[in-house]
């Protein structure tokens, strides 16, 4: 079905042209990359932009690269690009794992990771991996550039810290100097294409440090310093895992919707947290980072 209203379309060739256009139209413009969320939102009338600014000709944003000790993922990198990247496989096993669970191949060929965090729908798969890795989101506008830590990025369901005249150029992820391993757990009604009912990301770092994040169990994805502190100070034992699971009740705020009840989400998030933690610890013990 065609979109039931008219809008303009531009496909700038450079970043400068893109931010100039965006500066001119501001909130009446939407940035188009993969479009798998945006086209749906426009069909449903949830978004009614006057103009789409298609950034797919800006080749510098297609890149995944190491810059010093940071991994940079451009705004045009799709989930299947992540799956095909040796760098992601070797350095960010948790993101590699999560990327393989996003929708289906046909969507992953088009949908971008940056689009995922810009749409900021609560059930997104990229947030927990980026939260545990303390990613930074880089934006650009005619007023200059900003680097926003992911902790400050998500404001509310579908709302982020981005300004109307800004677009995201890339995400940078600091790669820990010492050994680390991550694990991602996603609960779905069936294996295959589905949205998450709840998801958990755990990163195990050297010196008994842990990072923990939850998604799809509240309006925004959430990293829990409280649970991390517990694990960091008491270490991993049967007792601390039980204590951490009890703590989850005070950290997340799931709701009941068409995909699951809040009680089920709460219960399963605890189960998945334990699985993710154990799996990350197991991977940490291996000589090389394990990827699925």
């Amino acid at each position: 079905m065609a979109i039931p209203y008219e809008f303009a379309y531009e496909r700038p060739e450079t970043a400068e042209q893109a931010i100039k256009l965006l500066g001119k139209y501001g909130k009446n413009a939407r940035i188009l990359a993969g479009g798998t969320d945006l086209a749906n939102q426009m069909k449903q009338g949830f978004r009614v932009p006057e103009i789409l600014i298609d950034i797919k000709n800006i080749k510098e944003w297609e890149v995944i690269k190491m810059v010093n000790n940071e991994l940079h993922i451009g705004s045009l990198v799709t989930f299947n690009d992540l799956r095909k990247s040796q760098l992601i496989r070797e350095k960010l096993n948790i993101l590699f794992e999560a990327a393989g669970l996003v929708a289906s191949t046909g969507v992953r060929n088009r949908a971008t990771m940056v689009g995922n965090i810009c749409s900021a729908v609560a059930c997104m798969d990229s947030a927990a991996p980026l939260l545990v890795h303390e990613a930074v989101i880089h934006t650009m506008s005619i007023d200059g550039e900003r680097a926003i830590p992911i902790q400050q990025w998500f404001i509310d369901n579908r709302k982020t810290a981005i300004q109307d005249n800004e677009l995201v150029t890339h995400v940078s992820i600091p790669i820990p100097e010492k050994k680390y391993a991550g694990a991602y757990q996603k609960m779905m009604r069936y294996s295959g294409e589905d949205l998450s009912q709840s998801n958990v990301g755990v990163l195990v770092l050297s010196d008994n440090k842990y990072h923990v994040a939850f998604g799809s169990v509240g309006p925004i994805p959430k990293r829990s310093l409280k649970i991390e502190n517990l694990l960091n100070t008491k270490g991993i034992s049967k007792e601390t895992i039980e204590e951490a699971k009890a703590m989850i009740e005070t950290v997340i705020a799931p709701i009941t919707d068409v995909r699951a009840t809040k009680e089920y989400r709460m219960h399963m998030t605890k189960v998945m947290f334990e699985r993710a933690l154990k799996s990350a610890v197991e991977r940490f013990k291996q000589p090389k980072l394990i990827t699925q």
Binding site: F7, Y9, A39, N40, L52, K56, S104, T105, N109, G192
Partner: protein, 152 residues
């Protein structure tokens, strides 16, 4: 209206499109390519699958104007010179009932075996997870692909 050109099944085509026209509508209603179907119209069912620059995509979620300068290939392209081995395998096993999902299934399976000539059952299921069939035809589809791609 903007004039765009793109390769459709190997042939360069020119046409004028409005930004709000989806690729699916343009292919079906203006170019006579009927293999991509409109199922859910929001990217979940895979009936509208086409190949864009060699990768499967959802044509219901792409604006026709976006494919300016790119290459689109549909099921019609696969059987240009007769049925492909995959199509023959599907035919032999009688894997489809109504056939509505067939073009999408065939394109997704073709992409899979092009990149991975001997997929496992799990990999086949994963590759076809975004192609829904309402005649419960999944098992014969998976069996046919397994048999076609098994190592000698």
């Amino acid at each position: 209206m903007k004039k765009i050109s793109f390769k459709l099944n190997g042939e360069t085509r020119f046409l004028h499109v409005e930004p709000n026209e989806t690729l699916l509508d343009v292919l079906r209603d203006r170019m006579g390519v009927k293999s991509p179907k409109c199922g859910c119209d929001n990217g979940d069912c895979g009936a509208c699958t086409v190949m864009l620059d060699g990768k499967t995509v959802r044509s219901c979620l792409i604006f026709a104007i976006e494919v300016d300068g790119h290459e689109i290939s549909t099921l019609e392209n696969i059987s240009k010179n007769g049925l492909s081995p995959l199509q023959k395998a599907f035919l032999e096993k009688n894997v489809f009932q109504c056939g509505y999902c067939a073009p999408g299934m065939i394109l997704s399976a073709t992409e899979l075996i092009t990149n991975n000539p001997h997929p496992s059952e799990h990999e086949i299921k994963e590759a076809l997870a975004g192609n829904l069939c309402r005649c419960t035809g999944y098992t014969p589809v998976i069996e046919a692909i397994l048999e076609l791609t098994k190592k000698d």
